[in-house]
Symmetry: C2
Subunit: 441 residues, 2 copies
């Protein structure tokens, strides 16, 4: 369950070292509390792609549920538990840490499965169930899969309560990464420069009016803001056309056998071949998918996949996580982007992740290292708001006046003026009408 | 120091009962953490009204500081401590709970007072000072004065470390309330109805697509959203003309003698005489002022006041807190608005406040109880964006198209078309040009 949560605060050093028990109240203040609100539950319940996947996974595989005992880890509103009951389960234990459990109980009762669904309020690590279970179902995935570290609780539940031949819903998970182009990096750089410009004025004023020199803190202020604007991953809802190189699987998880140690860190060295010519590599994007395949002895009859890959029609509330590269790179088809990616839990808050990222661009043979191109302004450009597709560097130096990014004119114009295939009225994806100009040097 | 903080989460029942010690890490996650960011410190340092008041209080009363020992409670960036040193203090102990203390130390050093200002990182309740102090200075005020309950720490400091004849900076504080008119109540009601309308669609969809009836939770969803939109006080930057009745002091604090018990609850029964005719009473607004008067044996030579009352030119980052009345009341000059107001600390988070409010409108003799007036739409209205002044109910049933509020036509038109007296270019207060129409029934 992706959540913005209140996760940006870091307690004082020395607290909650890796492996130590996390204080329950701190965990509540930092993490659980948002899930107690119906507002937040509804956001997830209104995610049709998410809902469809779990709904189909359950109802197209009733053999896994009929007459069986199920555990729903982190039941929230109770929706998964209710579906399991409707699919024929004889008992569903629905565990929820927050007061949302009260609503889940009412929802189960109001949907005539109150005799089957037993809602238990408590933490999965502490509750005691009357019996072991045939199926563990849970929607535990955070941004880029592992943010929130909720899978720890699912592993705990599995190790304590799943029968030897039991089934996990979902059964498998994968993490993907790909190089992308995006105008968002420049926006963030501009935001940073704005903040520094504002700071500089503030330093001047504070000296003039109050006789205190704040310049001593300029470096620290810049560091704090660089971290905030450029070194914090961003939630984005990417268009598939922003992917400029082959997506790569960087982590695979078998939910039946994974251990907490295996998921504590995600490390991957990978290469991605650039497949768009003359474009810009602004960032690495990360997303995940999960699969409902049952287990080898008791497989699904209908395998369902829930993917959060960039999509025009099937975006989810998880979006994708974007890790900006500084500076962006000019790339060509055939270049190879090599990354060493390492993600591990924050010492201060195990539910948040820190990422280290190094990379190298290997050019297709014969190409020069592309120079950094400065933006140029086209004199006559009619711009309309372009959603979903971030502007990319334009071969012909055209500019989108709305976002001041350069446009990939050839790419857009080749689709003709009008509406993109697969466009949805609700999205209102529109075109820029641009006049190509000779590329500036 | 007013702060939005991350204060909207409530931990599970039974935690941190009134009077019990608050867990340090929970307090950090809920409260302290935002103060560790320079971004947040700068917001307060850029509040000119706040800065001017403390600056003037110190430098126009150097006799309180020259050769004296000072304690700055919650020094943040260290600004107050530095001023005290510059004003002649021989020693300043600057206590700060967060890692901001590191920056404060650098700032003091970079302003050549590192030998006078000793920054101590720790909580005021725990640190041990080498000696008692002549002055305690602190900027501890939260929204509506007491939000954040930081004054507890100042009282603790005073009781432990202030010499018998010592001085408090500030020395006094007052809380004010007044009835106001504002369009914000209607905006929030509209937001609520939007949320409910969206919920209703969601309930339909969830039943159709997923066979689960969410209507069981409609009442709870509405309650949660009513609380969020209508029963949570709002930060506003009010225009003085929004005050429709005489402001009243509801609490007075002598910082030299106040106890925690005295400030734990604010209770007041008060009356406010309405002094604007034919207008709407939408809410109660609360704000505060603090004073730097020294103490009776050692008074200030120049008394300084820091007020957060509604002001065109001297607004502060504290704004005012607005408590919506449901429904808004039609009032006339001479009516008397009687309120019973009670504010006490939340059991779950002592830094947040819960408010109970009952009220009664006593009409000036001879007037009928004004009926609720429904909005009517004027057919020809040319509207421009009106900042600062929220639209009020219009006698002549004119409407502002920008905010869909009814306008107090007579009030605006009586000023003539053009710019309000005291208008500031930066604020761009503009007028509606309206055509009055006969009031609809």
């Amino acid at each position: 369950m992706g959540s913005t949560a209140n996760g940006s605060c870091a307690p004082t050093e020395g607290v909650a070292a890796a492996g130590a028990t996390v204080d329950k109240e701190v965990d509540f203040a930092n993490y659980f509390c948002t899930y107690a609100f119906l507002y937040h539950q509804k956001e997830m319940l209104a995610d049709r792609v998410r809902m469809d996947a779990y709904f189909n996974a359950v109802f197209q595989n009733k053999h896994h549920f009929k007459g069986k005992v199920v555990l729903d880890v982190g039941t929230g509103s109770g929706i998964l538990a209710i579906w399991c009951a409707q699919a024929g389960a004889r008992r569903v234990y629905a565990v929820e840490a927050t007061n949302m459990a009260v609503h889940a109980r009412e929802l189960a009762k109001g949907n005539d499965v109150g005799d089957i669904v037993e809602v238990i309020q408590g933490s999965m690590e502490e509750v005691v169930l009357p019996e072991k279970v045939d199926v563990i179902i849970s929607e535990w995935m955070g941004y880029f899969l592992l943010r929130e570290s909720m899978f720890d609780s699912v592993i705990c539940a599995r190790d304590r309560w799943l029968k030897p031949d039991g089934v996990m819903y979902p059964s498998h998970a994968q993490m993907w990464m790909a190089p992308i182009r995006s105008g968002i990096g420049e926006k963030k750089e501009n935001d940073l420069e704005s903040a520094m410009s504002d700071w500089n004025n503030f330093v001047e004023d504070t000296e003039s009016y109050y006789g205190v020199n704040m310049n001593v803190l300029t470096k620290q202020f810049r560091e704090e803001h660089e971290k905030y604007y450029l070194k914090t991953s961003l939630w984005c809802n990417l268009h598939p056309e922003q992917i400029v190189g082959a997506p790569v699987v960087i982590k695979q998880i078998d939910c039946l056998t994974a251990t907490v140690d295996e998921i504590r860190t995600v490390s991957s060295k990978f290469s991605s071949s650039i497949y768009v010519d003359r474009t810009r590599l602004s960032a690495l994007a990360g997303w995940f998918d999960v699969h409902f395949r049952g287990n080898p002895q008791n497989p699904a009859l209908n395998e369902i996949e829930l993917t959060t890959a960039p999509s025009v029609e099937n975006s989810t509330h998880w979006g994708q996580q974007v890790f900006l590269l500084q500076p962006a790179l000019r790339v060509n088809e055939g270049d190879v982007f090599e990354t060493s990616f390492s993600m591990h839990r924050s010492k201060e808050n195990h539910r948040l992740m820190n990422v280290d990222l190094t990379y190298e661009l290997k050019l297709a043979s014969g190409n020069q290292v592309p120079p950094c191109s400065s933006k140029t302004v086209a004199s006559t450009v009619k711009a309309a708001l372009l959603r979903s597709i971030e502007c990319e560097m334009c071969v012909h130096a055209c500019i989108c006046l709305d976002c001041e990014c350069l446009l990939e004119c050839e790419q857009l114009l080749s689709k003709g003026e009008g509406i993109l295939a697969g466009d949805q009225a609700a999205r209102k994806i529109a075109y820029h009408t641009v006049k190509p100009q000779a590329a500036a040097s």
